[in-house]
Amino acid sequence: MSDCKKCQDLFCEAFYEELDAEQKNFLEAHISVCEGCESEYDEMTSTLKLMEKRARPEPGQAYWNGYWNKLKRKMEEEKTLAPKSESWWRTFFRAFTVAPKWALQTAAAVVLVVLGIYLGKMIFSPSAPELQQARQLSTVTSQVEQSAEFINRAQNYIERSKLILLALINFDPETEDPYVLNLSHQQQVSRELVSEVSYLKRGIADYDQRHLQDLITDLEVILLQIANLESDRDFEAIELVKKGVDSRGILLQIHVTDFRKFTKIKDKTTPSSTASNTILNM
C-alpha cells in the first residue's frame, strides 16, 4: 500500500481523533510533504465541519414521555392479532403482494387462456343430448344412404331384368328373325345381373323383404336359363323360359313391386327419421 493510500485510509478516524500516536505521527508527517493528501484531508475536514451544521430536530420531551405508552399499545394490538390464524384468503392475497411482477403476469395469462378454453367449450360445444342426437342422426343417415344404394341397385336389377324378359316374351320365332332378339346381348346382361344377386339377397335379408327376395330368386333362375341358352335358334329352350316366366308370374310380381315401392323397407329403416322417409317413399 502506498503512503498516500495508507494516509487516506486514516482520514475517517483522524477527523474524530481516534488515531493512536503512531498513526497520528504518520498522518502528520505525510501530509506535511504530500500536497495532494494535504488538500484532500483539508477538503474532507471542511466538509465534515459543514455537515455538523445540520440540526437534527428534537421531537421534544412530551414525545419521549409518550413513546412507551404508544409502543405498549402497538405491542398489545400485535398480541391480539397474533394468535388468530390467518384466513386462507388472506394468505392467498398475501402471495399476490409478495410475488414478483413477472410471476403475476404469467399467472394472469394462464388464467385467461384456461378461462377462454372453458368458455369456448361451454358456448360453442354441443351439449351431451345434442351429441347423442347428432350420433343418432349420423347412424340413421348412414342407414338411409345404404338403403338408398340398395334400392337403386334393386330397382336397376328389376328394370333391366324386365326388359330382357319382355324382349324374350315378345319374340315370335315364326314371324321375327332371331337377329332381332339379339340373344348374345341379352345373355351378357343376364350374366351381369346374376352376378349382382348375392349382394341384393344380403340386402333383402337385412330388410326382411320376403316378396322381393322371391322375386329376385325367380329372376335369378330365369336369367340363368337365358344366360345358358346355347343358341338363338333353340326355340324350344326359349319357349321353356317363356313358360317359366309365365308360370312363376314374374312380370306380375314386378308390377306389384313397382306398386309397393318398397314400402316395407321404408317401415324398417325409418324409425325416427324424416330424411329416410323422403327417400324410401319414392
Binding site: 475517517c12 440540526a55 430536530p57 412507551w68
Partner: protein, 199 residues
Amino acid sequence: MVQDEQVLVDRISSGDSTAVQEFVERYKKKIYYVAYDITGDHDDAEDISQEVFIKVFRSLKTFRRNAKISSWLYQISVNASIDLLRKRSSKPEKIMDDIERADIQENLLGSSTNTQNPERNAEDLIIQKHISEALKKVSPKERSVFVMRHYNELKIREIAEILNISPGTVKALFYRATRKLRKELSFYLGNPGLEVSNE
C-alpha cells in the same frame, strides 16, 4: 454481551414487564435517531423504531448471547430504514417534515433572541436545508455509514458489524459519501463569506 444487557434480556425473557419498559427507555433515542438520520422523516423514524422493538421482543430468545444487543438493534433499524428508502426511491420526496420545520423555526426564533443576529440564523436555516437535501442525494448505504459515523458516533468496527461488511468497506463508503456531500455543498465550501467554522 455486556453484563447489564444480559441481565436485562434475561429479565425480559422471564416475563418481567418492567424490564421491557427499561429496555425501551434505554435504547429508544438511539434507534429513533439513527432511523431519522437515514430516512430524514419523523413518522418513518417513529414507525421503524417501534417496529424494531416489537421485532426484538418477538425474537429475543434467538438472540446470540455473545453479541452486543445495541448492535443488533442498530442492525434491524438500519436495514429497515434502507429498505424503506429503496422502496421510496421512485416516489417523489416528502416535503420537509413538520417537526423539522417547527424545530428549525424554533431554533431560528430562539437563536435570534439569543444572538440578536436574525440574518445569520436565516443563513443557517438555508444551510441546514441544503445539508438535508445533500444527504438525500447519497445512496442509502453510504448515507447509513455516514450518519452512523458522523451523527451517532459509532466506531468503524461497530458499523462494520452492524452492516456485516469489512472495516475497509465502511471507510470506503464513508469516504465516498463525504466526497459526494462535498460536491453537493461545494457552494458553501468554496464561498469565503460562508466559511464553515466551529462557532
